[in-house]
Symmetry: C2
Subunit: 210 residues, 2 copies
């Protein structure tokens, strides 16, 4: 099976949430300067690039990333392509029960990964989030840096998902993919005691089967 | 299939290479201090914990991590358990051709992941590295922070592997696993222009089949 990288490359200039510290990459040692090998240092926030939110990101009594069930990192995911919506609502989700892992592809996937932050990105409404929880979804993926609209009063979208231990993957690069069920692997950095972590994510190119 | 995490948890106090900057984790915002959500910042070297070496780590004209073929992150791997050796030599590798991905489990797997750095860890000799290259191995994994003995003169082990575009995964946690062929997924952080990157790695628990 061919695996397609759906992760944002991490480098200086990558888009970050307004107010977040920028990604930093610097030389620790360089062969060109006489060192025995090249080693670098990186600094970034736990919600940089393609990343996973743990419940503790928004729920102060919630689970931290290393306390979540890692079995949800593996398996099939239903990708739903909604190119024409400004917000994903429950009405966009059809009547069939949603599977364990759902990825939402929207017009966000046409945005550059290192452009200015786009406040009008497409996100999930509270009723879409509630529908995911009611259907037993354990992982929700979206194609911009937040699953919720920018500055949503009350942060309902996050609270509904994270308050119900749904893992949220933000910043997926889903350009070119059609609605369908795909093998999907998303592995976060193994940070201890964290509210989230950058991830590497791949989708398998098995043919459309939904 | 059940997936077993074979990655070192990343947190303050984790073992690092002598002289490398320690792993740092700090609060960026905390709900308990009035913020809307919990966000953290991390700093670490590209060779912290379970990580991948790109050729550029030791070869100044070599490929950087994002230039490597990501198909080697997926598939089966042969795990070879060598509990009684002080160094892995070509003579320990049998006569059958080695497959595309090989993991070496040694007594290193009994060491704690946050203990003092152990200079007498088990590593690969140059002749074992040469054998891997000759057999067409594309990924070599080991269970301590380097594939080469500590302060190896000339760094032959690294040069033979990285100079031939073999990806090296260091710091795997292979305790409890027996010799056999296993599904193995190892996904590095998608750092651009890097000499290496921390990874998350899992082994599938399909029955011994070698």
């Amino acid at each position: 099976m061919r695996w397609i990288d759906v992760s944002i490359p991490m480098g200086p200039g990558m888009t970050v949430w307004p107010g977040d510290r920028a990604f930093e990459f610097s030389a620790s040692s360089r062969i060109s300067e006489g060192a025995g090998c090249n080693v670098s240092e990186v600094t970034f926030v736990t919600h940089a690039g393609t990343h996973m939110d743990a419940p503790w990101h928004f729920e102060d009594g919630g689970k931290k990333l290393h306390e979540m069930d890692s079995s949800v990192f593996f398996g099939d995911a239903l990708l739903i392509d909604l190119p024409d919506v400004d917000i994903v609502t429950a009405g966009d989700l059809g009547s069939a029960p949603l599977p364990r892992r759902v990825l939402f592809k929207t017009r966000n996937s046409t945005l550059p990964v290192n452009g200015p932050f786009a406040r009008d990105y497409v996100a999930l409404s509270p009723d879409a989030s509630r529908r995911c929880v009611d259907d037993g979804v354990k992982l929700v993926g979206v194609d911009y840096l937040s699953v919720a609209p920018f500055h949503q009063p009350g942060q309902e979208t996050h609270h509904i998902l994270l308050g119900n231990d749904v893992l949220v993957v933000e910043g997926l690069v889903l350009k070119g993919l059609r609605t369908g069920t795909y093998p999907f692997v998303v592995l976060p950095l193994p940070l201890l005691g964290a509210d989230g972590a950058p991830c590497r994510a791949f989708i398998g190119d098995r043919d459309l089967d939904s």
